[in-house]
Structures are given as structure tokens and as C-alpha cells.
């Protein structure tokens, strides 16, 4: 299959179950909401070393937020509910509570399973905290030096999916980066999905374990490193000198499917030779995203012939 002349590999991305929370941060203006969200999602590229994966989902207009202020929606993923609860307390406590003018709300109000980071964080108020119930939800008023920080008590937990991916194989570094950037831009408008790596792009794709260092959980994906082409069992065609990966976490399969479709189509630009995906032969997780099935309807006519 070809899309805009780019070969689409007959393979699939393999993803695994995670637990997810959606955090809505609001502030006096978009700048401070973004400042808090950037800190909240800092050092959260991969569960391998960061214990969670997080990124900004999208910017929210005042009409979309509970307190009618500018906001940011953040998705945070961890491997299990317990881990998610710990990360929420750590991260909201250190990044939203500390940031001027912010308030913090749950973005998954329909979720039945709940965690209560607000209840844990309220004790920062040292006994001066108070709570208010608005609608069906309880909010904690924690006194801080610029007034009060308002934290919702409970946050919904969703069964999310981590590790959706596709890999862009380009002729050179410049065109590959441009294609990856186009992918990220196309995915940015899709709800329920985040790209946890810097700028949404990962260059250090990994394989499980290490051929030399037994203590490593993951090491460089040598099969896709162009500088190692003659030294390893390379997976790269001769005309590929640069590779970048887009990793996606999402709230459900449909969101990831939509995002992969938009991202791959956008990446099929001049200078790109092929799109493939990472998998472990079906052993890593139950969620499989076959590239050609996802792109059904986008194939070039000549390839279909």
C-alpha cells in the first residue's frame, strides 16, 4: 500500500492497557494555565523511567471549564490505578498547587472509578483548609499566599491505552523531522489522545532489554539506527537515513486509530520513504493497530491497481 507515494508497511502497532486521568487546569489567563500544564506534564515521556506518561491534550476556552476561566486539558497515564493515584498527588501538589492563580478539576466526570488526590492534598492547608460542594462534586479550598487554590476532591479513572505508535522512515533528517512535525500538528486537534514525547516526537525508539547490559529494561532500537546499518541486522531500506517515531497514548482504541490515521496521512510528504510501526509480535499487549487497515480509503490509486 502507498499513500502519497509513501510505502505503508504491512504491520501493526502494538499497545498495552494503562490507567488514565484527565486533569483540567484553569488560571487567570491562558499563559498561567499553560505554565502549570507544562510543569504538570514535565518528565513524563515514558513509564519506563518516569512512572507515568502525560501531555497537554488541548487548550480549553472559558466556556469549556468549570470556573469559566482559560484552561488546559491534560491526560496522564500510569500502568495501574495505584500508580496513577500517586502520580496525581505528586504532580498536582508540586505543579498546580504551586502555580499562581490556578485551580484544578477532574476532566472525567462520568468515570465510575475514582481517585481522591484532592483529599490527600488538602492537608497542605494545615487545618485551615475548607471544602465546598458544588453540583455533585466536592472541592477543597487550600489557603496559599496569593489567595486560595481550589482542588477538586476526586478524579475519574479511565481504562486507557499506551504505546500506540508509528515510525517515519525518511531520506534525510530534515524531511523526516518535517513529516513528524506535520503528524503532530494533525493529531493535535484530536481529543482523547496525547503524544508524550518532546514536541510529540521520539528519536530514541527502543527495543525490550539489551544485547549487552542485562540490567537495562530497554535499549536503542539498533535495527532502525541508520549509523549502525552495516553493524547490525538493520531493518532500514538503503535510501533511508533518518527515522523518527510518534508514540500515542489514548483513552480508547477509536481515538488512537483516528489519531494514527491523521498523523500517518500528514506524514506522507516528499522525502519520506515508508511508514512502519513497532510491535513485539503480539506479546506486549492486546491492542493492535494494523497500519493498512487504519488507512483504508487513503491508499494511492496506483497501489490499489
Amino acid at each position: 500500500m502507498y499513500v502519497n507515494g509513501v510505502f505503508i508497511d504491512d504491520t501493526f502497532a502494538e499497545a498495552f492497557p494503562m490507567r488514565a486521568a484527565r486533569i483540567v487546569v484553569t488560571a487567570v489567563n491562558a499563559r498561567w494555565a499553560r505554565e502549570a500544564a507544562l510543569k504538570l506534564t514535565g518528565f513524563a515521556t515514558s513509564v519506563i523511567a518516569c512512572k507515568c506518561e502525560a501531555a497537554i491534550e488541548r487548550e480549553l476556552e472559558p466556556r469549556e471549564t468549570p470556573d469559566a476561566r482559560p484552561g488546559m486539558s491534560v491526560l496522564l497515564f500510569a500502568m495501574d490505578t495505584e500508580g496513577l493515584g500517586k502520580r496525581l498527588v505528586e504532580r498536582i501538589g508540586q505543579t498546580v498547587l504551586t502555580c499562581p492563580t490556578t485551580s484544578c478539576f477532574d476532566g472525567l466526570p462520568e468515570a465510575e472509578k475514582r481517585l481522591t488526590p484532592g483529599r490527600s492534598l488538602r492537608i497542605f492547608g494545615d487545618g485551615f483548609q475548607g471544602s465546598k460542594v458544588v453540583g455533585r462534586d466536592r472541592f477543597w479550598r487550600v489557603p496559599v499566599m496569593d489567595g486560595e487554590c481550589l482542588l477538586q476532591e476526586s478524579f475519574g479513572v479511565a481504562k486507557g491505552i499506551g504505546g500506540g505508535n508509528f515510525i517515519i522512515l525518511g531520506a534525510d533528517a530534515r524531511s523526516t523531522l518535517a513529516a513528524a512535525e506535520a503528524s503532530v500538528a494533525a493529531i493535535a486537534s484530536i481529543e482523547g489522545v496525547i503524544l508524550p514525547f518532546p514536541g510529540g516526537i521520539a528519536r530514541s525508539g527502543s527495543k525490550v532489554g539489551s544485547r549487552r547490559y542485562k540490567s537495562l529494561a530497554a535499549s536503542t532500537n539498533d535495527a532502525y539506527c541508520p549509523t549502525l546499518r552495516p553493524l547490525t541486522a538493520s531493518s532500514l531500506p538503503d535510501d533511508v537515513d533518518s527515522v523518527l517515531e510518534i508514540v500515542l497514548d489514548g483513552l480508547d482504541e477509536a481515538s488512537i486509530r483516528r489519531a494514527m490515521r491523521a498523523g500517518i496521512v500528514a506524514a506522507c510528504l516528499p522525502g519520506i520513504r515508508a511508514i512502519t510501526a513497532g510491535n513485539y509480535g503480539g506479546k506486549l499487549g492486546p491492542h493492535h493497530f494494523p497500519l493498512r487497515s487504519i488507512l483504508d480509503g487513503h491508499a494511492d490509486a496506483r497501489a490499489l491497481a
Binding site: 470556573d67 469559566a68 475548607g130 465546598k132 460542594v133 458544588v134 479550598r141 489567595g147 486560595e148
Partner: protein, 273 residues
């Protein structure tokens, strides 16, 4: 089974009646004849609903009352589910002890509307009498949950001894508003009468139209309280209230008190700028 039960008053009430049998949840399992046979008290005389109302429909928890029932008291007492609309004024103790569902009075109510309420939503488009959202006589707690939204003004002792919940008054409140509130929030867009939030423990009285703050409260600061913004935004969206941006986004003068109790409560006075 029908979409709704409509009770239409046959003639203006020339006496007060106790109509606490009008409860939407109870109507869900009753046919029109059974509803018509429910008891109504006029003084010591036991009568039935059909003596006063034409009953149309049955087996529905959506109830509409048509006619001037300001002399019918106790309507919606203890309602836990369903929808009740009163197409005009209603009497005292409307939705007293309510724990769920939605009641909407298009006119005014008498005293003790939403008394001892623990959940659900009570809306009164015009005015309410004394002790709205307060407790039963002798009870240690007033309303313990739910929302009361009043478009007009209320009498004395609004929200007295409230433990939890939200009471919104679009007009003025009489004397001793939020008296002895334990927690919860009372918001008054107009003025409040003398001795507001007396013996307040941990509750919030938010006033936009003027308040004489008692000497037992101490000024803390002027700031933008995020919970007031949240509550006003919620009310404006849910009840389609027109609240000015100045109220939602504005600064409030925070007073801590009442010093005669634990003193963890507050009066928040809107600063007109």
C-alpha cells in the same frame, strides 16, 4: 401510564389545606383515581385531592400543578425523585425534607420552603418566605444538601443552621440570614438584613448588594475567591441565570467569623469596582 400528572385547581382555595400527599415519586405507581383519593387535610377535616383538583394522568413522577395554591401547604414534602412544577404561587413548607428530584415554582412560596432539605434541586422563580432551607423546629441542622435557587427575595433566617448545600437568593434576604450555619454556602445578590451569619461556624455567606458586617467578624483580605467563581458559574449554567461578569470575576472582601463560635466561617462582600 402517562407523560405527566396534571393537578388543576377547580376553584380558588378559601381555606388552607395540608397537601403533603402531592409527592411526584409516590405518583409514579398510582393511577389517576388513586391519586385523586389521596388525603388532604383542611383543619381537622380529612378530604381527598379530588375534592380540590382535577387529576389528569397517572403513573408518572412528573407532576404539574395548575392554579393558585398559595393556601396549599406541604406540597412535595419528602420528595426523593421526579419533577414537580407549580404553575404559580405555592404555600408553606414546599419541598420540605426533599432528598432528590427537581421542584420548580414559577411564582412565590410561603415560609419554610426546602426546610430540612438533603438533596435535589428546588427553584423558586419569585420570592420565598422565612426560614427557607432552614431546619425543623428544634433540629440541630438545617439543609444538609441539594440546591435552592430563588429568583426574588426571601424572609428572615434563610439557610439557618445549614450543614451543607447551596442557597442562592437573587434578591434581598431578611434578618439573620445564614444564622448558625455549620457549613454550606448562602449567596445573596441583593442586600442582607441585620445580624447576618450570626454564630456561623464554617459556612460562607456571599453578599453582593450590601451587608452590615457584625463586629464579631474580622477583615482578612480582598481577593477573588475561586469557589465563589465556581459556584456562580455553575448556577449560571445550570439554571440559566444572568449574573454579571463583575460578580463572577470580581473581588470580594473576606471577613472571618463568627468569633462567638469556632470562627471558621466567612462573609464575602462583593467589591463594586
Amino acid at each position: 401510564m402517562s407523560d405527566r400528572v396534571t393537578l388543576t385547581l377547580r376553584a380558588p382555595l378559601d381555606e388552607s389545606i395540608e397537601a403533603d400527599s402531592i409527592v411526584p415519586g409516590a405518583f409514579a405507581s398510582l393511577g389517576d383515581a388513586e391519586i385523586g383519593a389521596l388525603p388532604v387535610w383542611a383543619g381537622r377535616a380529612r378530604r381527598v385531592l379530588a375534592d380540590y383538583f382535577d387529576v389528569r394522568g397517572g403513573r408518572s413522577a412528573t407532576v404539574r400543578i395548575v392554579g393558585d395554591v398559595r393556601r396549599a401547604h406541604g406540597i412535595g414534602t419528602g420528595m426523593a425523585a421526579g419533577d414537580l412544577v407549580v404553575d404559580g404561587d405555592a404555600g408553606a413548607r414546599l419541598a420540605a425534607g426533599m432528598s432528590g428530584g427537581r421542584a420548580d415554582v414559577l411564582g412565590s412560596t410561603g415560609d419554610e420552603a426546602g426546610m430540612a432539605m438533603s438533596g435535589g434541586s428546588l427553584r423558586i422563580r419569585r420570592d420565598a418566605g422565612d426560614r427557607v432551607g432552614a431546619g425543623l423546629a428544634g433540629a440541630s441542622r438545617g439543609m444538609t444538601g441539594g440546591e435552592i435557587v430563588i429568583g426574588g427575595s426571601v424572609g428572615a433566617h434563610a439557610g439557618a443552621r445549614m450543614r451543607r448545600g447551596l442557597l442562592f437568593v437573587g434578591g434581598d434576604a431578611g434578618e439573620l440570614a445564614a444564622r448558625a450555619i455549620i457549613a454550606g454556602t448562602v449567596i445573596v445578590i441583593g442586600r442582607v438584613g441585620p445580624v447576618p451569619a450570626f454564630a456561623n461556624k464554617r459556612g460562607s455567606l456571599v453578599v453582593a448588594g450590601g451587608v452590615e458586617v457584625p463586629a464579631t467578624y474580622r477583615h482578612a483580605c480582598d481577593y477573588e475567591p475561586p469557589h465563589v467563581r465556581l459556584a456562580l458559574t455553575y448556577l449560571a449554567r445550570r439554571y440559566e441565570l444572568s449574573l454579571g461578569a463583575g460578580l463572577v470575576e470580581g473581588r470580594y472582601r473576606r471577613y472571618c467569623g463568627d468569633a462567638g463560635t469556632v470562627g471558621r466561617g466567612e462573609i464575602l462582600e462583593w467589591i463594586r469596582e
